[in-house]
Amino acid sequence: MIVEATGLHKAFGSTKVLDGVDLRVAEGTVFALLGPNGAGKTTTIRILTTLLRPNLGSVRIAGYDVVREATKVRGVISLTGQSVALDDQQTGRENLVMIGRLMHLGRPAARRRATDLLERFDLVDAMNRRVKTYSGGMRRRLDLAMSLVSQPRVIFLDEPTTGLDPSSRTTMWDAIKDLVSSGTTIVLTTQYLEEADRLADRIVLINGGRVAASGTTDALKSQVGGDRLDLRFAVEADVARAAALFDAPRGTDPLVLGIPSDGSAKHLHRVLDDLRTAGVPVVKVSSHRPTLDDVFLSLTTTDRTSVQV
């Protein structure tokens, strides 16, 4: 495990932000911290990247303790924060060389590295222009490039695509996928389920400073149930008869009955046959696959009361 956090607690004054968070990230994987605003995502990232000390608990990154061996940790990680951290009055190239120098690469190596990254992020044409002339998407790309100067083993990305237009977002996702294929470990936070679904091997859902759920995207989806058939009827009496027939609980919509399914055509046939035999007319059938949204909603709504302090 390249990142191991155990029992993280953090409070600012009387406000509890983290209330016992455990995380384990395997090397070479993408790990997403998912949660609504104020869940404690950024605080967690700040602790993992040595910017903030936890009140309780410990973190080891690549075997180094984030509090006692902060300099060593900083040598193997990089952070791209929520707000783009670039000098507007320096050129793209100067920004990159500066970071290279601060990572103690030596001047020629820092320059070479800057050139490589400018090529990789398609910024060569703009490299000698000041960053203040860059578009939003270019700034994000340069910001990510800044994180890669040191060839870090773990990259932390705090909401990497918040505020980006859809095409810049896709570019960013591709860049992140490229990193993973070269063996880098990525820890990212996001509010977007789609982003976590697309990128992450494992997801931890945090809410109110606690881990509400964790696992692979598939495991999380199956946690809220597998596929489901939604049967719509014309009158409530039919819903009641169908519910008795399949021994299924009634849902929130009075005219719809949801029943568990394995998603196969065979199962669908059997359900329809049973309904015809029993003489219950069904109006409409739809099959429903759970999304991460379902996971998110079910967990953030049911758990909220128990974690508020």
């Binding site: 910017l51 300099t71 952070l79 951290a85 100067e94 120098r101 601060l102 103690h104 590295r113 060839q151």
Partner: protein, 261 residues
């Protein structure tokens, strides 16, 4: 290919500071406002005091010879005040987190801004002296006098710049940093910079005689134009060294407190 670099140690600390100094100087050079402030303001101030107010102020000497040290100190105040704004800019943007997540001593960011401030002040002081000479300033200082004046001014500017850096660390925004540093700009007016203090009401007279800027100005004036300085040189030095010690401690302590979660 992986590059392994060694972090920490004295050599890296020096190289980190140099990198940050290079950055801050580059940023100052490219910031049009700061640059105008460093060049145009000294010229405006010189013209204003020499040609507009100067004729009406009786100092017992050529006014231009009297006022040059005051203008130098006034302009250093402006030069140092912009340090507060650049530090606040780093502290309130994502930049400070990026720098802190690197394996460097992050206070190098303050060193960078302070040294850039010295460079800006060197420029504006040169402009003031050049303009003064063009307007008729005739110093009768020896090389030693010039060196002593330069050393005293350097310590003074360092003290002000560290103070400004500290204000930049506590400021919640760039705007409030600029407000906080206002006092530094106001103090020279309450000194013997532009008028002899003996015409001020007794309360103000006491304030101006006992604030740090008056002895610094009297000393610089004495060194450049040969007016008697008595022991003001030592008083000025004591003030400057004392202020520097306090402002450096203040700034670095605040920085540590703000950046250690």
């Amino acid at each position: 290919m992986t590059t392994t670099a060694v972090h920490g140690g004295a050599r890296n600390a020096v190289s980190d500071s140099l990198t940050m100094i290079g950055r801050s100087i580059r940023l100052s050079r490219r910031n049009v406002d700061t640059l105008v402030m460093s060049i145009v303001l000294p010229l405006l101030m010189m013209s204003l005091f020499v040609y507009v107010f100067g004729g009406a102020i009786n100092t017992g000497t050529q006014y231009i010879n009297y006022v040059v040290p005051g203008i130098i100190l006034l302009c250093t105040g402006y030069g140092a005040a912009s340090t507060a704004m650049s530090v606040a800019d780093d502290m309130t943007s994502g930049m400070i987190d990026r720098l802190r997540s690197l394996p460097i001593r992050s206070s190098a960011v303050l060193t960078g801004h302070v040294v850039a401030s010295i460079a800006r002040n060197l420029l504006s002081t040169t402009v003031v002296i050049g303009a003064a000479i063009a307007m008729g300033f005739r110093p009768d200082a020896t090389v030693t006098d010039w060196v002593l004046a330069a050393v005293l001014l350097l310590i003074y500017v360092l003290a002000l710049s560290w103070l400004a850096a500290g204000l930049g660390v506590i400021a919640k925004s760039v705007e409030s940093a600029s407000t906080l540093s206002f006092l530094m700009l106001f103090l020279p007016y309450l000194s013997s910079a532009f008028v002899p203090t003996n015409t001020m009401p007794s309360f103000l007279h006491a304030v101006s005689e006992n604030q740090p800027i008056t002895p610094v100005i009297e000393t610089v004036r004495g060194l450049l134009t040969g007016t008697p300085t008595g022991n003001t040189g030592w008083i000025a030095l004591a003030w400057c060294v004392g202020l520097l010690t306090c402002s450096f401690t203040f700034a670095t302590w605040l920085f540590r407190r703000r950046t250690h979660g």
